[in-house]
Symmetry: C2
Subunit: 472 residues, 2 copies
């Protein structure tokens, strides 16, 4: 059996000490004992486990057997002992990032329309395209999104859109972990037609992907202002029947707050509560506008929250009270939202923005520290989506969703504190390797699960359709 050694990173920027880590994590020095032959060994990097103690291993040694992490520790004097060895010298070995909320196929809207008033944006760009889109459009946009996410260190994503069977297919081909959910609302959909068919489509999706190791399915009503109480109730029932997450946009904009108040005389969370829909299975995207009672409901019912700072900024939705949510024990993950409102899927810059936005919003330099924010993009995001028993941290027994960040670059030098670089200095394209479920899907920035030129050609064909649809 051949043992291959690959250099993970461009060069060696020299030894570094992690003294400051003693404040932010625990440096381990475990020996490596009696290793069985592993499928993949990642050695010499600094491993940030994001386990409950945020353990960090210098000159780390991480082993993968099959789809599972079989060893995490320091190298000691052990020789490499794997079918494939990745030398991560000068790199940070991290859990793959978890994108808690996106609309993957909206990559095909990237840069189509920005800086516009909401109704101009919706009526003249988004709606004309969405009313004409089809399965092929969503498949292509989702493939592009998978390429972008793999190349920027995201290994799991949670999607909401139309034609979600195509999102699942694209993710399956790309080798990405995901939760997909067909968007459901009161009006007819270009995919499934009537809402009754939408519920059937969702149920079929759940059944079809129930045994898949990477793709799982959620029930995803769009929002409280596009879904009647009856539809919301039916979604809730379906999610509970199959034990899958219930995911929806909640309290994103001021306009939504006013509409729900005017329709139901309540805040969105009070409305959900009156419908009996709150609980730990509910993932609430955005949560920008919360009053004291909403926050209490979220805490008491164990609702999970996904924060999308860049989208909330670009759409002028507002600033979610994330530091307070975290301080009060709410599980908050991080999402990019779709590319119409971001315009990329880079969770590294999303972390940077999250850390800085709340500092200036609260006029407090100490909120949203780097470790907290990196946890949001990894283990807390996994918890929010109910995936934390599988991913979100590098621990023995978890699935091998791993990325390597190459720090041998001017903007990641010197290295005093890796958490700081991850949040405040790195970008998605500093990721050199991405592994999902034990499979190397990107190696030295070459994606291995598909051909980029093929995707670009498909994307260009779809972009030309978009140009025709909007008549520009």
């Amino acid at each position: 059996m051949r043992t291959e050694t690959f250099k993970a990173v461009g060069g060696d920027c020299g030894p570094f000490e992690l003294n400051r880590l003693k404040k932010t994590g625990t440096i381990m020095n475990n020996g490596v004992e009696r290793l069985a032959l592993m499928d993949i060994v990642i050695k010499n990097g600094t491993i940030l486990t994001m386990d409950p103690e945020n353990r960090v291993y210098e000159k780390g040694f991480l082993g993968v057997t099959g789809d599972t992490i079989s060893h995490v520790g320091t190298d000691g004097s052990m020789p490499p002992h794997g079918k494939k060895v990745i030398d991560a010298r000068g790199g940070l070995v991290l859990p793959g990032l978890v994108n808690g909320h996106t609309h993957a196929a909206m990559t095909l809207f990237r840069g189509l329309a920005d800086d516009l008033p909401l109704m101009d944006w919706l009526n003249n760009y988004i709606f004309p395209v969405e009313s004409r889109m089809d399965a092929d459009f969503v498949y292509t946009g989702s493939l592009l999104a998978c390429a972008e996410m793999i190349m920027s260190g995201t290994t799991s994503f949670c999607d909401m859109y139309l034609f979600e069977q195509e999102v699942a297919r694209a993710a399956h081909e790309a080798g990405m972990r995901c939760i997909v959910g067909e968007v459901l609302y009161d009006f007819d959909s270009p995919n499934y037609g009537s809402v009754e068919n939408g519920l059937k489509y969702t149920e079929e999706l759940i059944r079809q992907w129930s045994e898949d190791p990477l793709v799982s399915v959620a029930v995803e009503p769009h929002s409280l202002f596009t879904c009647s109480p009856e539809l919301l109730g039916a979604c809730h029932d379906l999610a509970r029947r199959y034990g899958v997450p219930l995911i929806t946009h909640v309290a994103e904009t001021r306009a939504e707050m006013e509409e729900i108040q005017s329709k139901y005389g309540k805040t969105p969370f009070a409305h959900l509560d009156s419908l009996g829909m709150l609980g730990p299975h509910l993932v609430a995207d955005h949560c920008v506008h919360l009053d004291h009672q909403d926050m209490e409901l979220i805490i008491n019912q164990g609702v999970k929250v996904i924060h999308n700072p860049e989208s909330n900024m670009k759409l002028a939705s507002g600033v979610a009270p994330v530091p307070e949510m975290i301080a009060r024990g709410i599980t908050v993950g991080l999402g990019t939202d779709g590319c119409a409102s971001n315009n990329n899927l880079d969770l590294f810059t999303e972390m940077d923005t999250a850390a800085k936005l709340h500092k200036v919003h609260n006029m407090d330099t100490t909120v949203m520290d780097a470790v907290t924010v990196f946890r949001m993009a990894t283990i807390e995001g996994a918890k929010a989506l109910g995936l934390d028993q599988y991913v979100g941290s590098l621990e023995v027994g978890k699935k091998a969703d791993i990325i390597i960040l190459d720090t041998c670059k001017p903007h990641l030098t010197p290295l005093f504190n890796p958490f700081s670089h991850i949040v405040y200095a790195a970008r998605g394209n500093d990721v050199s390797h991405t592994l999902i479920n034990g499979k190397i899907v990107m190696e030295n920035r070459r994606v291995k699960t598909f051909s980029l030129p093929d995707i670009f050609q498909k994307v260009e064909n779809q972009a030309n359709r978009v140009r025709r649809w909007i008549g520009k």
Copy 2:
């Protein structure tokens, strides 16, 4: 004479149309006539000139002769006609970015301390290091900054720090355009000692670099709370005597506002006005806290402003009223500030943050549109620094400071509007080529003016000194 052809970008992502550009710029279709042999020709890219009409040339043809842009237009059917030809197919050809405010050597503080209360940060990290630093420290940190800036598309920067002779030396070696200025304040400096020596040091710098094609010098008192009215007056006199810019931090934090109010009974701008220091030669960094009268003073006196959104966010300083400043005709450039408060020098993500921050702060999606923000990072920044007759746009007769952005990447696909991608989707490391003053300083992401491993080694030595100084 040999003609070399280089491929600028990783691949061809196919043809794209720029229909939306008709709204944001003018598409030109000029023929190329009777070209003399040029030193460098950049062909096939989309040229965004950032000239007064924001002209865009598809399949552009840009010629460089010596240090100067000698042709800008479309290719037509002309064969390449240069000693060196860069094929920029699939790329955007842009003016090099202008970093309006930084402290280059603070790259050596990157990630040293974040998320701390201001006084803890200053007393336990920044001051212990700054009191011990020397010329070699500043030279090394500045070299690292130049490497980072060249690799992220910045071609000009404006610096304020200690040992500025070393910053000038580093920039000179790296081949970067810059304005340097020794920081001046009432207390002794580890570089020049007493403030009288500081003024002499500055005057000597001005004389020494007066004929340099790339390095120029400004007079840079630190701030109104660290400089007496007498020192500010002496700085003003020196700047006027030599006809160089006067640059200082103004109205950055609430604490500063209170201190100036308490000392002088005025806002910082009213204080500067009472000293007769306002005028078009004054570059005011930050300008976060402005009242109605301050804004009037800035407008009436033609003061230039540099906006540093990421630093203002990370240090919880506040949000500058930039949309109002721009609407009222004030020249506003963009800066990264130093790496202790950012933590990188990437003007692409700085643009992204600037565009989004003001949207959410003003609850208005239409402010800080992509073209406006890209102008801030190019021609408006050049105007602010008094460099606009030389750089900031791609026009015949200007100096050849040019970058190529490779858009053949998933996160920059499809391409409906290049301005959108530049501001909302690109990162610094998407830049493939950087030219400064007609010289190629980075080609296909390889820096040509110095060795990165050498810089990394120097940086590591200095980082070890920092670790000793702060006792961690």
